[in-house]
């Protein structure tokens, strides 16, 4: 199976091709069979590859590479250090523990979301189009995670961006959806440009783009590349990651991306695509390990984003927007982990987050489905008995994300918090931010649960009697993901709690050979203390939410009234969109308008001027022609006419005139003879 590993992305590509070329003529049943079946096949193939990979002998160095063909034989050129490089960019697959994790998450969660979409999209127009894009996304994402070099990764990177754009704007008749799509695409473009610059800098620095070769070069103790260049590369790559993974300052597109259908939010904007940045940073760990500056930046941005987005999530009323900010915040955690050098913890959180955040989105989709499209939590409430399966699965996910043991989120988030405290690049400040964010997370998550499922029903009457539990295809993924959210943490259960940290051991070879920075020395007591502290914080967050939204609903109004300006600031998302509009968007628009004016005035004016000149010179020629050329001819004719006048008046054509001349002539002759 490993030899045919390229089939994993090809299956969904086939599905996308079938849908996008012939889908219009297929029935909905056929569309779902093809487009859910092929990702399912892809998942089975991935599982097969995974087990075969585990069974490989020791001398494979934990990497299975499958080069397919040379894509760009760029040939020889001079590197920045003067030596001769030879760039050959290939298309190939690389399977190592890191891409194994990503591959299984993408195919597994992706397949479940495909199943869910059968139910969720059943009554929507463009059914085949939706599945076509979704399959195309799966293909691009798998190319991204299975690529063996940066350029091929970039192909997948752009592919997922395109699919994200297409799916956010899926309801293209709605202006806000197309705007959100454009926003996502443009904001991502900023990041992508930086990513591409980073890739180019790697080409001239290392002369190769292969992950393996770059890793080997970077881990060579006799490395002759200056730290500044490494830091620049790392920062450029990280800017790319902030775009794709929605970090400060490029996170603004993700909340708007909720305009897309909910399965899309779950798959692309929670579980897989937005984690591509984390994957990329982890994939480049050999470079980041050389640059503490870049790591500090990653950690700082991650921590800042975590608390920033979590604070906005506190007051949002749209159920999907709460989850969107939560996603941004959790992605911040992952970058925080990478930034403190704990790539394993970041990837672990990436995986568990994929489970519970996909579940949260799918469950929110189920809620929206039950309420005939209502997304405002102020118009929900008391749903827990009406849609019990949705409630229980969503509650499990909320507990997981809040970090309640022994659920998946507890294990991964606690690992991140511990690493940010005691890890090689950890700092108390980073831990503090992460810890506060954990409390905020528990609060806004249970605010969502309580507002949606508990308390008094605020559902409008006409929606009330339509409330129904979702169909089977939607519930099966919910239950499966709930199971994964509950038990998913055990594969990485920490040693301090008598676990095996099997996940960390599995990933270890990926990060092997990086320079070892000794972690801070804290005793095991500290670890238990911090663990207890974060659990207590999570419970405190939940109980505050319970007080404010279940016991005394009027309390929440009192609090927001007391908070006043700050609450308004949060509600308007710190006015970041407005600031960006004023600083950048409007500047670009003005530039565009100026260029349009330039186009209209100068370029069009030039063209029009040339046209005018031609017309005027034509007019001159016409005047010359009519007056001078024609005039000469006419004058000539006039002269002839005048000269011919005596001849003309003689020739009247009238017989009698001629007879008259004859008579006169005869008489003249007669007179002449008579006089002589």
């Amino acid at each position: 199976m490993l030899d045919y590993i390229w089939l994993i992305p090809v299956f969904p590509l086939l599905g996308a091709a079938i849908q996008l070329f012939f889908g219009r003529r297929l029935s909905n049943k056929a569309v779902s069979a093809v487009s859910v079946g092929l990702p399912g096949l892809s998942f089975l193939w991935a599982v097969g590859c995974f087990f075969q990979f585990l069974g490989l002998s020791e001398d494979y160095h934990h990497v299975f590479a499958k080069p397919l063909y040379t894509w760009l034989p760029a040939g020889a050129f001079h590197l920045s250090n003067g030596s001769l490089g030879n760039l050959n960019v290939g298309v190939g697959m690389q399977l190592d523990p890191l891409s194994c994790v990503m591959m299984l998450v993408v195919t597994g969660v992706g397949f479940l979301i495909h199943v869910y979409s059968i139910g969720y999209m059943a009554h929507e127009g463009g059914y085949y189009r939706f599945f076509g894009y979704l399959n195309l996304f799966m293909f691009s994402m798998l190319v991204l995670v299975l690529a063996d070099n940066y350029l091929m990764m970039f192909v997948g990177w752009e592919g997922v961006g395109l699919c994200s754009y297409l799916l956010i704007g899926f309801y293209f008749l709605r202006k806000s959806a197309t705007n959100a799509g454009i926003k996502a695409f443009l904001v991502n473009r900023i990041g992508d440009a930086a990513f591409l610059l980073g890739v180019m800098l790697m080409v001239v620095t290392f002369g190769t783009l292969d992950f393996q070769t770059i890793g080997a070069i970077a881990r060579n103790p006799n490395l002759h590349v200056s730290g500044g260049i490494i830091t620049t590369i790392c920062i450029l790559l990280f800017i790319g990651a902030t775009g794709k993974s929605a970090q400060i300052p490029l996170y603004v597109w993700l909340p708007d991306a909720m305009e897309g259908p909910t399965p899309v939010s779950a798959l692309i904007h929670a579980a897989t695509m937005v984690t591509a940045g984390v994957y990329m940073v982890a994939r480049s760990n050999a470079l980041y390990a050389l640059s503490p500056t870049a790591l500090a930046l990653v950690a700082g941005i991650g921590a800042a984003t975590a608390i920033w987005a979590a604070s906005i999530g506190l007051v949002q009323n749209d159920i999907k927007r709460v989850l969107a900010y939560s996603t941004v915040s959790q992605l911040g955690y992952m970058f925080l982990a990478c930034g403190v050098g704990a790539f394993t913890a970041g990837i672990f959180h990436l995986m568990t987050h994929a489970f519970f955040k996909a579940l949260l989105f799918l469950a929110s989709g189920s809620v929206i489905h039950a309420l005939s499209g209502e997304q405002d939590m102020r118009k929900m409430g008391a749903l827990k008995t009406r849609i019990p399966t949705t409630y229980w699965t969503m509650a499990a996910a909320a507990l997981a994300i809040s970090g309640i043991p022994p659920l998946a989120g507890f294990v991964s988030k606690d690992e991140i918090l511990w690493q940010s405290f005691a890890g090689p690049y950890g700092h108390t400040l980073l831990w503090t931010i992460g810890w506060i964010t954990a409390g905020l997370t528990a609060f806004y998550m249970f605010r969502l649960i309580f507002m949606t499922f508990w308390g008094e029903s605020r559902v409008p009457h006409e929606v009330e009697h339509h409330i129904h539990e979702s169909p089977q295809p939607m519930l099966i993924p919910l239950v499966t993901l709930a199971g994964l959210s509950i038990v998913g943490g055990f594969i990485g259960w920490p040693k301090s709690l008598w676990g095996g940290e099997w996940f960390g051991k599995f990933l270890e070879p990926v990060f092997e050979g990086n320079p070892i920075v000794p972690p801070h020395e804290y005793g095991a007591g500290w670890e238990y203390f911090l663990m207890g502290l974060s659990v207590v914080t999570a419970i405190a967050g939940i109980s505050v939410a319970y007080r404010m939204y279940v016991q005394q609903p009027e309390l929440s109004d009192r609090v927001s009234a007391a908070a006043g300006g700050f609450q308004r600031l949060l509600l308007h998302k710190y006015y970041v969109d407005e600031i960006y509009d004023a600083l950048f968007v409007n500047r670009v628009k003005n530039l565009g308008n100026a260029l349009a004016a330039f186009d209209l005035g100068v370029v069009d004016g030039g063209v029009n001027g040339v046209g005018w000149t031609t017309r005027m010179s034509g007019e001159l020629t016409r005047l010359w022609d009519t007056w001078i050329i024609d005039g000469l001819v006419n004058v000539l004719a006039m002269v002839v006419k005048v000269l011919s006048w005596p001849a003309r008046i003689l020739q009247t054509g009238l017989v009698q005139n001629y007879a008259w001349f004859i008579t006169m002539g005869v008489m003249a002759f007669m007179l002449y003879y008579m006089l002589h």
């Binding site: 020739q651 009247t652 054509g653 017989v655 009698q656 001629y658 007879a659 008579t663």
Partner: protein, 100 residues
């Protein structure tokens, strides 16, 4: 016996009337009739001078002229009909085909 001069004067008068008719009348038919007047004026002269010179040649010539006048009248009337069919007019001043 009427003196010969009288015939000559009659002939001259008829000839003059004929020429004026040819030159001034618009109708082609009248012009043809005026030509007949001219021919007949000549005939009178021929016959009168034949008597005067005691020679029969003039009278023979007059008979030729009469024959010729008959032929001319036939051809002339035919021309007038052809003219009318093409031009729908028999007015001489409306027909200036000779100019072209």
């Amino acid at each position: 016996m009427i003196p010969t001069e009288y015939y000559i004067f009659l002939g001259t008068g008829l000839f003059t009337i004929g020429v004026i008719g040819v030159l001034t009348r618009r109708n082609v038919l009248i012009i043809l009739m005026s030509i007949e007047l001219i021919l007949n004026a000549v005939n009178i002269n021929l016959v009168a001078l034949s008597q005067y010179f005691k020679s029969v040649d003039g009278q023979v010539f007059a008979i030729f002229v009469i024959t010729d006048a008959a032929a001319e009248a036939a051809v002339g009337l035919g021309l007038i009909i052809a003219l009318f069919r093409n031009k729908e007019t028999v007015n001489a001043d409306e027909i200036d085909l000779l100019k072209w």
